[in-house]
Symmetry: C2
Amino acid sequence: MKHRPTTATILTHNMCHNLEQVKKLSNHLPTWAVIKANAYGHTITAALEGFAKSEGIALLEIENAQLARSLGWEKKILMLEGAFFQSDYADYDELQCDFVIHQKEQMIWLSDYMKSLSSHKADMLVRRCEVWLKLNSGMNRLGFMPTEYLAAFDLLKNLGFRVHHLTHFANADVAGDADLSLTSCPKPRVQDQWKLFKETIQDLEGLISAANSAALLHHPYTHGDFTRPGIMLYGAAASGRFAEIASYGLKPTMRLQSKVIAIQNLQAGEHVGYGGRFIADQLSQIAVIACGYADGYPRHAPNGTPVWICANERMPAGRMAPIAGRVSMDMITIDITGLPVQVGDDVELWGEHLPIDDVASAAHTVGYELMCALSPRVKISITKE
Amino acid sequence: MKHRPTTATILTHNMCHNLEQVKKLSNHLPTWAVIKANAYGHTITAALEGFAKSEGIALLEIENAQLARSLGWEKKILMLEGAFFQSDYADYDELQCDFVIHQKEQMIWLSDYMKSLSSHKADMLVRRCEVWLKLNSGMNRLGFMPTEYLAAFDLLKNLGFRVHHLTHFANADVAGDADLSLTSCPKPRVQDQWKLFKETIQDLEGLISAANSAALLHHPYTHGDFTRPGIMLYGAAASGRFAEIASYGLKPTMRLQSKVIAIQNLQAGEHVGYGGRFIADQLSQIAVIACGYADGYPRHAPNGTPVWICANERMPAGRMAPIAGRVSMDMITIDITGLPVQVGDDVELWGEHLPIDDVASAAHTVGYELMCALSPRVKISITKE
């Protein structure tokens, strides 16, 4: 029984390569390879292979932490949002995960959990699991206020934990210090967040993790002790603009492919698809591809969004063709006027020939969203070469 | 081990109810309940329960046709896009599926497949599987041109099949015949597609299936012999505008829920989230919800997109609150200034209190996309009440 011809290939050798680039850029600091959201759609299996040389993995789904352990991952795991329920601590304990504490209830749950343990078991816990205390340095999403931070730190130390320091930047994709001086720079600025973070933790022991992909690339003073790359490990840009990362030698890690399943011949003036959004301005040919928004292709993609027609004996170099008509649930239509395309031809929706960022930009989103949106009905295969 | 508190509940009683509404609107014609894309994210299991009274189900993933048979579905199945590969016909034969033929290669594959069968087995096939021949009546996506249609019909009849007629409308969500006379009506118009379809098949025997949800609601002359409702079975509008269907008594079939996992207090002038898109204009409170675009929530949702805070002892009537700041991969931030919200409170992202269409409209998309985008990390439960 064959699936629809809509398939994703995960390129673990490129994941390895991207991790190496991270290491080079950050003076070989330890990394938390971020593999939340099923490794941004790449699967945990592929991530453990691609990021085998990372010192740690970071995620937020306890079931995937369990999966990683069951697949043999013995190095560090960081639960990026910490506990959602008090019972999560028993799982962290068993799976030997470091975890974030970002708000008071999580400390109360932890305190209560420790009271339920024998002193021997409580000793085990604080040896097995380290705490990463999160500061809200201005993003106003997760983390303690600077005024609350020291008390939280002391409480966790008193429980016996090793406590480290973590924060997250809101605008690290605004590249370079020159940009940062612009009044048009969105707030809060990296340099302001960093200053507040450093001031808050200045007298406290513990390691620092602050640099996401964009900070890793553009703000080296934030690298700290443990970098936290996500999107760049998957060969895409935090900003969604491929140009931002083109010079860093990152490689694509996901190829989404499908096939041409039909071809239509149009007269000038004829329309294509829902809403009739594309109108042929001449005798035209339209190819229909078996991939739509229910596969994870962005419905917002406008006419002109590129699709790569793979090399074949009729087109030995391959060719780009533009989307023509609204993306449907299960299909995309592209303008192939004048090209020798046939039913059954392979196309690449993103991958080595077409950066995922280019598709994302066209659809006014970021590569993250496209990777994560890959649907379960897309058959995934993992390859090392 | 507990999952993140991001869960979807599938309301099969409302799926039943919506099917009943379809039946009432269409004079109790037989229906193909469209359950492609994992029943628009609702699961095949829920669909077979919710649409148990449908005469048939229609989809395009052969593995889900197999699943439906293995779950005990004995009535008709229609493969909406027909064969992607020649080998699909053996599966249709085994699973006893009707199938669409929309282009020539599919006929060649079918012809070749039948030649590989004994005459007894070929006889069995044409008794078990009926063909739905698809006309391209102007949408220019799938289907034969009117000039090719008769030859295709004859060829399939000569193979021994019962052959029926199918087409698809590009603009059926433009409501009412009044609208259709407007020059601003997108092309092709339902009435023009219908006329061409009827003219093409006028001398041919076979049943007719043409009406998708929007045609079912707005263009009753297209109902034919077998309606083909999709989105309305799931309580949403083809256009993405809930007002379009508000008067038809359709009910929501999916509730997406999560919890507040943090609360931040902001000074006037402070920013929230990536890009600092929300700026507090007064002392404000922001609640962080464990749901983001990697769960299937639309990243395009702007500030102001509604989120429902479920009733609790502090807010017995529940309350709507607006999104404040960009949707992140795993989190949404909402403005709860002045509301007695606490960490752990339940929220509904869409469902009975908040039509999925309202969220879709805010994000410039349609409910279809949101349902289909529901991610595997969202825990789904199915309920009958």
